[in-house]
């Protein structure tokens, strides 16, 4: 039904997509897989001819006519009716000023000429079909009144409104929590089977998530740097990948390669009875006199030993990042105590004591783009901590140490005078790790260090972290929502939900025999093989 022939898309001199050919037949579920920058999203957008300022060549045949040759009015009739799209982030893809009913109704009235009342009735049907509870009430909700999963369901309802022949799903689950993710995928599968039987609707799924592909797609096309390197039925691709890039992608499941913690290892971090409150602004003048608060963490107890990795797992809003902030002293603890190397964090008042403590623990954040100041050279970024904690070093010794640190994290020493924007995400994360190592800490707080990275890069960074742990006997407080990463990295796991620890224990035990139903749901939803 859809046939892309020799499609090339160019921005200036750089090819985003090069000579791509791909067929999707009616009723088929095809996945387009690749890492960021592989051109998969551009390919999807070009099917709707929504790529601005690009030179396009080749043909995109949809039901026998070439989309690239169509005029703008013809394309407008096609968009939303024959081809519909679901975006990654439903919060930004939905207009915040209209109710979801108005937004679903819009395409119905446009393409099918329904009046307001009919469109409203159809909207309720569609919402009911996508599994939104109380569709009669929800249809009048604004996007911000819905949860992330409900917003994505509303997006799907909108996309299905005019019974498209082809549904483009661009990372439809990436922005969602794992448990919600699973529900959305099941919904998409169910709807597609239904629609395929009735009208032959096909889905082109764009994603980087291989677990998702395996579960969802019938056929997979793999893209690397704008080129389609391999295309095969799902089972065949997963069991016998042909292209080396596909093999590398499939191999990028994190491997467990950590050493057991010695029995007598001393604790580096002890947390007992920790609770954190956030102030919630009261309404109007009351905020001047009264404080509203919201408890983000309840009674957290744990200890982290030298050379050990403690994994903290939870969905968004579970309080895992608040825990990291509290341990780092960035967030005031309302109750409880944090001891680092036996010294209480709260008891420190002089800046000298604090500085000594900060040399013991460092942090690596999730977003490699936000964690390095864009106006500092790599030398300044890494050297800042050295200048602070090692006043005995002169400029030459400091530079030598920085070069050594860079080589430790797998970067050449000649990048000292460069700025962060010249590096890729993985390289920036290495720089952030080098910065953390500069002050020779005993413990690193790793706040989703690999979540923003592509799978193959993710694995390199994880390997680096494992190697550094072995070499320096580091302790990691590893915060993540990714159970595959957790399984590979952590000695012990702590599962968090709504600010409480609901289960903790050795990684193997939790993974093989979770006792809490939420942990079980989480494990099942993350679709680990």
């Amino acid at each position: 039904m859809l046939s892309i022939e020799n499609l090339s898309i160019r921005f200036g001199d750089t090819f985003a997509v090069k000579d791509l050919s791909l067929q999707v037949s009616a009723g088929e579920r095809v996945a387009l897989v690749g890492e960021s920058g592989s051109g998969k999203s551009v390919t999807a957008l070009s099917i709707l001819k929504l790529v601005g300022s690009a030179q396009t060549s080749g043909r995109i045949m949809l039901a026998g006519s070439d989309i690239l040759k169509k005029s703008e009015p013809e394309l407008r009739r096609l968009r939303g009716r024959d081809v519909a799209m679901i975006f990654q982030e439903p919060m930004t893809a939905l207009n915040p000023l209209f109710t979801i009913g108005q937004q679903i109704g819009e395409s119905l009235r446009l393409h099918e000429g329904l009046d307001r009342r009919d469109a409203h009735a159809r909207g309720i049907q569609l919402l009911a079909r996508t599994g939104i509870p109380e569709p009669e009430r929800r249809i009048n909700s604004f996007p911000h009144q819905l949860s992330g999963g409900q917003r994505q369901r509303a997006m799907i309802a909108m996309a299905l409104a005019c019974r498209p022949k082809l549904l483009l799903a661009d990372e439809p689950t990436t922005a969602l929590d794992v448990t919600v993710r699973k529900q959305i995928i099941e919904l998409l599968l169910e709807l597609q089977e239904e629609e395929a039987a009735a009208r032959g609707m096909a889905i082109l799924l764009i994603t980087h998530d291989l677990n998702l592909v395996r579960r969802f797609a019938q056929r997979v096309a793999v893209m690397e740097k704008g080129v389609l390197v391999e295309s095969a039925p799902t089972e065949q691709l997963f069991t016998a990948p042909q292209h080396p890039y596909t093999k590398r992608l499939l191999d990028s499941e994190p491997q467990r390669d950590i050493e057991p913690v010695p029995r007598n290892a001393k604790p580096v971090l002890e947390v007992s009875g920790l609770a954190v409150d956030y102030h919630k602004p009261a309404v109007g003048w009351r905020q001047m006199f009264k404080k509203n608060s919201f408890r983000a963490l309840h009674d957290i107890n744990f200890e982290l030993r030298r050379g050990e990795t403690l994994g903290v797992v939870g969905e968004s809003g579970s309080g895992k990042s608040t825990l990291a902030s509290a341990v780092l002293g960035l967030q005031y603890a309302s109750e409880g105590e944090i001891h680092i190397d036996g010294r209480a964090l709260a008891g420190l008042h002089t800046s000298k004591q604090k500085r000594a403590l900060y040399a013991q623990m460092q942090v690596v954040f999730q977003d490699p783009y936000g964690s390095l100041s864009p106006r500092m050279t790599i030398e300044q970024v890494i050297g800042e901590g050295l200048a602070m904690h090692r006043p005995d070093m002169d400029a030459t010794a400091r530079r030598a140490r920085i070069v050594e640190l860079l080589q430790e994290v797998g970067l050449p020493g000649n990048v000292l005078q460069r700025y962060p924007h010249e590096f890729s995400g993985g390289q920036r994360q290495r720089i952030a790790i080098a910065r953390a190592l500069a002050v020779e800490p005993e413990m690193l707080v790793l706040d989703e260090p690999t979540s923003a990275l592509d799978v193959s890069i993710q694995q390199q960074v994880l390997r680096l972290l494992t190697r550094l742990q072995k070499k320096y006997n580091l302790s990691y407080l590893f915060i993540t929502h990714d159970l595959a990463v957790m399984r590979a990295m952590a000695h012990r796991v702590m599962v968090m939900k709504d600010g409480r620890v609901i289960e903790s224990g050795a990684t193997e035990d939790i993974m093989s025999a979770p006792s809490h139903p939420y942990t079980r749901a989480l494990l099942e939803a993350s679709m680990l093989s």
């Binding site: 960035l330 936000g370 864009p374 106006r375 050449p412 005078q417 390199q460």
Partner: protein, 371 residues
């Protein structure tokens, strides 16, 4: 180790594991300058403005009623730096020499004597008692742009007036920027209670009617340039502090600031090294616009007679004179032209600067598209 395989650095030479040659790359500040330079209109506006400004700084060497050098009776004199009595050059009275007096001029050119004048022979406050035409006089070889109603040279007054305006503008911009950054930074970085109290104080302060205060102060005190500077500075920082506060609020929650705090840096170090450099975009963007606003403010006050006292050269005072002497077109037309050109140059510079600092534009031109 296998984990050190990575995608090569986006731009630059192949990554060999060499440690010695340190590759340097263009700093963000320099990139902004290069982008600014690539905007021809803004860049040339900057050049022209700087040339005019530097000329006006040396106004004493261009328009002055004292000669640069005098050779009189075998002695050297330097009237431009030293005051001589009229008797030195054969005059009758021990008053300061008037080098435009035909009698003195005759003495200075008699025999071997000579005097080197500046290109324009009038200081901004020189009254030409020996003018052949009644004042205001139209442009002539002596008074290039004519004279005003008191017989003062328009060119000279414009030159000095431009200098005063620009220097005043620079001073006001600097003070407003420093105060604005200070107020915005404190509120934005510490947030919470500091921010709440600061914002209320600013709201009260900004609702004071500054123009009336100015008029009242101008009637109590003798209005001087310094007093005007103080009064305008008191109110000039409010708008900017809001922008800086916003940038600080955004930047302080970014990961690199949190990482810096985990490093053990003090608040002052975090502000100075991490937050401030990344919060300067609105400050730099507004610089030329703030300057033209400052120049315009001074001009308006002078035009209304609330500004600097006579005989300080001022564009606003010239405009007022032009209004009073509509038949003397050379007063208003020339002043108006100078004012418009100055403001236009500043606006072009401001536009270019804004484009140079605009992340979206620069990213598009650097990456050539994509996501």
């Amino acid at each position: 180790m296998s984990d050190s395989i990575d995608i090569p650095v986006k731009s630059g030479a192949p990554m060999a594991a060499v440690t010695h040659p340190v590759e340097s790359s263009i700093s963000p500040g320099r990139r902004i300058w290069l982008r600014f330079k690539s905007n021809r209109l803004g860049y040339w506006s900057f050049i022209i403005f700087m040339v005019i400004f530097i000329f006006s700084l040396g106004a004493e060497l261009i328009a002055n009623d004292r000669p640069l050098v005098v050779r009189y009776d075998g002695h050297w004199y330097f009237p431009i730096v030293k005051t001589y009595a009229e008797t030195t050059f054969g005059g009758d009275f021990p008053t300061n020499a008037n080098y435009l007096d035909p009698y003195i001029v005759k003495n200075l050119t008699a025999g071997d004597n000579f005097a080197i004048y500046t290109p324009n022979h009038y200081h901004y406050d020189t009254l030409n008692y020996f003018a052949p035409v009644p004042n205001p006089a139209p442009p002539s070889a002596a008074n290039w742009l004519g004279t005003d109603q008191f017989g003062r040279d328009i060119f000279s007054r414009l030159l000095y007036g431009f200098r005063v305006s620009v220097l005043f503008g620079i001073a006001l911009t600097l003070s407003g920027t420093v105060l604005g950054i200070l107020a915005g930074a404190l509120q934005g970085y510490f947030g919470g209670r500091t921010d709440l109290i600061g914002q209320r104080l600013i709201e009260i302060w900004s609702s004071l009617p500054d123009l009336y205060l100015l008029i009242i102060f101008a009637s109590i005190f003798e209005p001087t340039l310094f007093l005007l500077f103080i009064l305008l500075s008191l109110f000039g920082w409010i708008g900017l502090s809001d922008y800086v506060r916003g940038e600080f609020l955004r930047n302080r929650s970014l990961d690199y600031v949190r990482a810096a705090r985990t490093m053990g840096l003090s608040h002052w170090q975090v502000i100075w090294r991490h937050v401030l450099p990344n919060s300067l975009t609105p400050v730099i963007t507004f610089l030329p616009f703030r300057m033209s606003a400052a120049i315009l403010a001074l001009t308006s006050l002078d035009f209304l007679g609330l500004g600097v006292p006579p005989p300080t050269p001022s564009l606003g005072e010239l405009l007022a004179e032009g209004k009073n002497n509509l038949d003397a077109w050379w007063i208003s037309v020339t002043t108006f032209t100078v004012l418009v050109v100055t403001l236009l140059l500043l606006t072009f510079m401001g536009d270019a600067l804004r484009n140079a600092l605009d992340k979206k534009l620069s990213d598009a031109s650097l990456s050539g598209g994509g996501k």
